[in-house]
C-alpha cells in the first residue's frame, strides 16, 4: 500500500548515517544502539501495523544524561528524532522515519519511589501501566487509567497519548492521574514539571505535555497518583431491543446522578463475535448490550445496583443480570475485553476507529454507519465506551483483496467526519498520530492548527521531534511568528465606555 505522506527524508542526514551511528554508540555504549537493518525491523511499526518504516538508527538510552546528549546532538545537527515507548500506539504515533533516530525508552524500566502516605509512585517512563499497579497492589492500591494495552503499554507512552481506558468516566484520563514529570527538551535541557504536590507554579505545561504525542519533549520520569482499590465491584449485563433504548438507559443512569466505574455498550455484530469467541453468556437476541459496573463500598454498590436495575427496566430492557461473584463479574467483562480479537476471528483484518460523540447522537451515528457500511460494502461491529461517548467502530476487511484496505480507510474517515459533524471529535483516546493527521482540518480551522503549532515552536522550533504526526502540515515557526496587523479604529465605537 502507499502509506501516508511523510516528511521528505533529509539527504544530508542519510549521507552521514555511519557517522551518526558511531556518535550514538559513543553516547550510549554497550548494547544501546541497533543499526543492522535486520534487527531494526522489530521497530519498523507500532500498533498501527499497516504503516512500516525502518528508522535511520535505533537508540536505547538508559539514563536522562544520555537522552539529553542524544537530543542536543540531534538538535545541533538538525537530525529528526522519533520517541517510542512500548510501541502500542494505534495511531502510528511511534512510526519511524527513514532519516530519524528512533529513541526507544524501554530501558527506563525501574520504579524509583513508592510513597504510600503521599499516594504517589515515581516511575521511569518505560515501566508498564500494569507494572505500576502490580508494584502497589499488595497494599491495596492501584493506578486508575487502564487502557486495554495496559499489560504492555508504558507509562511514558500513556503521558504522550493521554491514555484512557474503561474506567475513565469516573476516574479520569492520564492527565487527571499524573502529578509530575521530568522531561528533556529537543535542545537537551532537562526540566521538571510538578512533583508530589498539586498544580503548577506557572503555566500548565504538564497539561500541554499530556497527549502531545511525542512532539514536545521526551519524558524521562513520571510521578503518578495511586488510589485505594474500591472495596467491591459488581457488574450488570443489560440487553435492549434497540440502541436507542440502551442509549436512553445510559442517559437516565447519569441523569439520576450515578457515575458507574465502567459503562460499555456493544452492538449486535460485536455481541455475536464476542460470544462465539469467549462464551460469556451474552444474550444473542438483543440489538444492544450494556455492561454497567458499579464500584465502591458494598453498601453503596448494592444500593446503586438496585437503582440501575429499575432504570433499565423502565427503558424496556429484555435481559438484566447482576454478577454475584467476582468470577461472574469477570465473565461479564471477558467478552468485551476480547471484542477486538473476537472480531479478528470473523474477518482477516479489522480497522479500529476512535471518535467521540455527544451520547445523544448515538442513534444518528449508528444509522449513518449502517448506510456507510452499505456504500463501502464492508461490515462494521461497534463497541462503545457508553458513559463518555467514545466509539470504537471496527471495520472488517481483507487486506489481501485489492482495494479493500483503502476502502476501509475511506470508510473510517467518513465515520470520523460524521462524528465531527454531530459535535464530536476525531479521537477519544488513540491519538491523532499519522492515522488521523490529515483529518485534523475537519475539526480545526487553519488558525486553530497554527496556534497549536506555535506551542510546538516554543518547545521545538526546528520541528525535529516526531515530525509528520498530528499536524497535516508543519509551517515553519518563523512564518507562524509573523503578525498580520489590522490597523483599526477604536473598537465598537457605538457602545458606551466607562
Amino acid at each position: 500500500m502507499s502509506g501516508p505522506h511523510m516528511p521528505e527524508p533529509d539527504a544530508a542526514t542519510l549521507k552521514k548515517r555511519d557517522e551518526i551511528v558511531a556518535d550514538m554508540a559513543l553516547i550510549v555504549p554497550g548494547e544501546g544502539v541497533v543499526a543492522a537493518d535486520r534487527e531494526m525491523r522489530a521497530f519498523e511499526s507500532d500498533g498501527l501495523t499497516a504503516y512500516r518504516q525502518v528508522p535511520l538508527v535505533v537508540v536505547l538510552p538508559e539514563n536522562v544524561r544520555q537522552v539529553s546528549r542524544i537530543l542536543k546532538y540531534c538538535h545541533e545537527r538538525n537530525i529528526r528524532v522519533v520517541p517510542r515507548g512500548s510501541g502500542t500506539s494505534l495511531s502510528g504515533g511511534a512510526l519511524p522515519l527513514q532519516d530519524a533516530v528512533l529513541l526507544v525508552m524501554s530501558r527506563f524500566n525501574r520504579i524509583l519511589d513508592i510513597d504510600f502516605p503521599n499516594r504517589a509512585v515515581v516511575a521511569q517512563p518505560g515501566v508498564t501501566n500494569l507494572g505500576i499497579t502490580q508494584a502497589v497492589e499488595h497494599a491495596g492500591f492501584y493506578y486508575a487509567p487502564d487502557p486495554s494495552s495496559q499489560i504492555a503499554c508504558s507509562i511514558g507512552g500513556n503521558v504522550a497519548e493521554n491514555s484512557g481506558g474503561v474506567h475513565c468516566l469516573k476516574y479520569g484520563l492520564t492527565a487527571n492521574n499524573i502529578l509530575g514529570i521530568e522531561m528533556v527538551l529537543m535542545n537537551g535541557e532537562v526540566i521538571r514539571l510538578g512533583g508530589k504536590h498539586l498544580d503548577a507554579e506557572g503555566y500548565d505545561l504538564l497539561g500541554l505535555m499530556t497527549g502531545s504525542e511525542g512532539l514536545l519533549g521526551v519524558v524521562t520520569e513520571v510521578t503518578v497518583r495511586i488510589l485505594q482499590k474500591p472495596e467491591t465491584a459488581r457488574a450488570m449485563l443489560i440487553g435492549f431491543p434497540s440502541s436507542e433504548e440502551a442509549g436512553q438507559c445510559v442517559a437516565d443512569i447519569i441523569g439520576a446522578g450515578i457515575i458507574p466505574g465502567g459503562m460499555e455498550m456493544m452492538d449486535k455484530p460485536a455481541i455475536h463475535a464476542a460470544e462465539d469467541f469467549v462464551h460469556a453468556g451474552y444474550p444473542l437476541d438483543v440489538e444492544a448490550l450494556l455492561i454497567v459496573e458499579l464500584d465502591g463500598p458494598q453498601a453503596e454498590v448494592d444500593h446503586l445496583i438496585e437503582r440501575v436495575e429499575d432504570i433499565a427496566a423502565k427503558n424496556g430492557c429484555t435481559t438484566s443480570r447482576v454478577s454475584h461473584s467476582d468470577e461472574e463479574r469477570l465473565t461479564f467483562w471477558a467478552g468485551r475485553k476480547a471484542a477486538f480479537p473476537a472480531v479478528g476471528r470473523i474477518s482477516p483484518d479489522y480497522y479500529c476507529m476512535d471518535g467521540t460523540i455527544p451520547r445523544k447522537e448515538l442513534p444518528r451515528v449508528l444509522s449513518g454507519m449502517r448506510e456507510l457500511s452499505e456504500k463501502y460494502g464492508l461490515r462494521v461491529a461497534n463497541v462503545f465506551h457508553a458513559g463518555d461517548g467514545n466509539l470504537h467502530p471496527l471495520i472488517l476487511y481483507d487486506a489481501n483483496k485489492p482495494g479493500e484496505l483503502e476502502r476501509a480507510e475511506d470508510f473510517g474517515a467518513d465515520i470520523l467526519r460524521l462524528c465531527v459533524a454531530v459535535g464530536g471529535v476525531l479521537t477519544g483516546e488513540h491519538g491523532v498520530g499519522v492515522e488521523k493527521r490529515d483529518l485534523m482540518p475537519e475539526m480545526f480551522t487553519e488558525d486553530d492548527l497554527n496556534q497549536q503549532i506555535r506551542v510546538k515552536c516554543a518547545f521545538d522550533p526546528n520541528h525535529l521531534l516526531n515530525p509528520g504526526k498530528m499536524f497535516p502540515q508543519l509551517h515553519r515557526c518563523a512564518e507562524l511568528g509573523r503578525m498580520h496587523i489590522h490597523r483599526g479604529q477604536m473598537p465598537f465605537p457605538e457602545l458606551e465606555r466607562f
Binding site: 504510600f116 502516605p117 503521599n118 493521554n162 479520569g172 492527565a175 487527571n176 527538551l185 526540566i191 512533583g195 508530589k196 504536590h197 498539586l198 498544580d199 503548577a200 507554579e201 506557572g202 503555566y203 500548565d204 505545561l205 497539561g207 499530556t210 474500591p230 442517559a251 447519569i254 446522578g257 457515575i259 465502591g296 463500598p297 453498601a299 453503596e300 444500593h303 467521540t356 455527544p358 451520547r359 445523544k360 461517548g389 464530536g424 471529535v425 479521537t427 477519544g428 485534523m440 475539526m443 480545526f444 480551522t445 496556534q451 497549536q452 506551542v455 515552536c457 516554543a458 511568528g481 503578525m483 496587523i485 489590522h486 483599526g488 479604529q489 473598537p491 465598537f492 457602545l495 466607562f498
Partner: protein, 402 residues
C-alpha cells in the same frame, strides 16, 4: 483610560486587534474579584468581559455546560444545583479573603485562575474539568481547542494550557466544562487535639483507606475558633469529609471512625454544618479579616507541609492551617512576607510552590508573587508567552517579573 466592555466575541476580537495594532497593553478582567492577586497590572486600557455573558449549552445527561466567559460563576452553580449537579472542582471564592463581597467571579476567571477547593485531592481543579475553549490570542486571532465531549485527545490540550494562565496568553470568550452529579449527602468526621505532625499522619491514613475521603483538612488551635462561628470546641480539629449516597456515607463514616479512634477523640459533623464548614475552609475564612496582612497559598507533598511550616515558624511569625491532606498550606504573616525564607524551605522539604495571594499592591509589585522557576523552565514559559502574545499586550507582568 478606556474600559472596553464587549458583549460579543466579535467585539472582543476587535478590541484585541485594535490593541495589537496600537501596541497598547490591556488588563483583562471579569468581575475583578481576583484582581488583587498577582503583580499589579498597570495599563492604559481595560478589557472587561463581565458583559460577555450567557449559558449557551447545558445538557445534564451529557454532563456538559458551555458559557460565555463573563457569565457569573454563581449563576452557573445555581443552575447546576437545580439539576443536582455541580462543578466538581469546588471553585473557591477569593472575595472574602481579598476584602470583597462573596459570590462574585466569572466562569472565565475560574479557568484563568485554575480555581479549585478542598475536593482538589479527589476530583481535581478547573484544569481537570475544562473540555474546550474559544479564545482570542494576543496576536488578535480566534482559535478553539478541545470540544464538548468528555473524552478527547485530538490535538494539544490548549484549554489546559490556558488554565492558571491569569489572562496572560489569550482572552477566553467561551468555555465548556464537564459537570458532575452533586453528592446526595455528606458528613464530616472530626478528630480533636492533634498537633500538625499527628494530623498529617492521620490524614494520610484516611486518604489511603477505602473511605473515599473528599476533603481532608487540619485546623490548628490558632484558627479553629474561626470556623462554624466558634462551634468547634476542644482544640485543634482534623476534619475528613465523606460524600455520596446515604448508605455509603454512613458506612464510610463508620469505617473512618474505627480508623481514627486510635489518633484521638472523634465526633461526626452532620450534613448542614459539614457543608458550611467546608465552604469556610475552601474560602480561607480564618484569614478573611479585612486586612492586607500577607497571605501565602503553598502547595507541597502532603506529608512535607507541616515540616516546612514548623521550620518556617522558627524564622517568621505566621498563622497556618492545612487543606488537601496537609499539602495545601494557608499562611498568614504577622509582618513581612519573608518570600525568600519560605521558598528556600519549600525547596528544602521536597519542593512545591508558594503564591502570595494577598498583600498590599506595593508589596506585590516588589517581589515575585508566583513561584520563580528554574532558568530552563522560565525560558520555556517565556517562549510560550511569546507564541501566544508576541507583543505582550495581555495582562503584562501579572505572572512574571517583567
Amino acid at each position: 483610560m478606556t474600559t472596553f466592555t464587549p458583549t460579543t466575541p466579535a467585539h472582543t476580537l476587535e478590541t484585541v486587534q485594535w490593541a495589537v495594532s496600537e501596541e497598547t497593553p490591556l488588563e483583562i478582567l471579569g468581575h475583578g474579584s481576583k484582581r488583587g492577586i498577582g503583580r499589579p497590572v498597570q495599563t492604559e486600557h481595560v478589557l472587561d468581559l463581565s458583559r460577555l455573558t450567557g449559558i449557551t449549552l447545558y445538557e445534564p445527561e451529557e454532563l456538559v455546560l458551555s458559557a460565555k466567559a463573563g457569565t457569573p460563576l454563581a449563576e452557573i452553580e445555581a443552575l447546576l444545583a437545580n439539576h443536582n449537579q455541580q462543578l466538581a472542582f469546588e471553585p473557591m471564592d477569593y472575595g472574602p479573603l481579598l476584602g470583597l463581597e462573596p459570590g462574585r467571579g466569572t466562569i472565565g476567571g475560574a479557568l484563568a485562575a485554575n480555581l479549585s477547593g478542598p475536593r482538589r485531592i479527589k476530583a481535581g481543579a478547573a484544569r481537570d474539568h475544562v473540555l474546550g475553549v474559544l479564545a482570542v490570542s494576543g496576536r488578535g486571532e480566534v482559535f478553539k481547542s478541545g470540544g464538548r465531549v468528555v473524552k478527547n485527545v485530538t490535538g494539544y490540550d490548549l484549554s489546559k494550557g490556558l488554565a492558571g494562565s491569569w489572562g496572560t496568553l489569550a482572552v477566553v470568550t467561551d468555555v465548556t466544562f464537564k459537570v458532575l452529579p452533586a453528592a446526595e449527602t455528606e458528613k464530616t468526621l472530626a478528630v480533636t487535639g492533634l498537633d500538625d505532625a499527628e494530623a498529617a499522619a492521620a490524614m494520610a491514613g484516611a486518604m489511603g483507606s477505602s473511605a473515599e475521603v473528599s476533603g481532608a483538612a487540619h485546623l490548628p488551635e490558632g484558627v479553629v475558633g474561626r470556623f462554624l462561628k466558634g462551634g468547634l470546641s476542644g482544640g485543634a480539629k482534623t476534619v475528613l469529609r465523606v460524600e455520596g449516597v446515604g448508605p455509603s456515607v454512613a458506612y464510610r463514616i463508620d469505617l473512618l471512625t474505627r480508623l481514627m479512634k486510635p489518633h484521638g477523640a472523634v465526633e461526626v459533623i452532620e450534613e448542614k454544618r459539614s457543608r458550611t464548614l467546608w465552604r469556610e475552609i475552601r474560602d480561607c475564612l480564618p484569614f478573611a479579616d479585612g486586612t492586607e496582612a500577607p497571605v501565602w497559598r503553598v502547595s507541597m507533598a502532603p506529608t512535607q507541609g507541616h515540616r516546612m511550616v514548623d521550620a518556617f515558624r522558627r524564622a517568621a511569625g505566621a498563622n497556618a492551617f492545612y487543606d488537601w491532606q496537609g499539602g495545601l498550606i494557608w499562611l498568614r504573616m504577622e509582618a513581612d512576607p519573608e518570600a525568600e525564607v519560605l521558598r528556600g524551605l519549600i525547596g528544602h522539604f521536597g519542593g512545591g510552590h508558594a503564591t502570595l495571594v494577598r498583600a498590599a499592591p506595593a508589596v506585590r509589585a516588589a517581589l515575585a508573587v508566583f513561584q520563580p522557576q528554574p532558568a530552563a523552565l522560565a525560558a520555556l514559559a517565556a517562549r510560550l508567552k511569546e507564541q501566544f502574545d508576541p507583543k505582550g499586550i495581555l495582562n503584562p507582568g501579572r505572572m512574571a517579573v517583567a
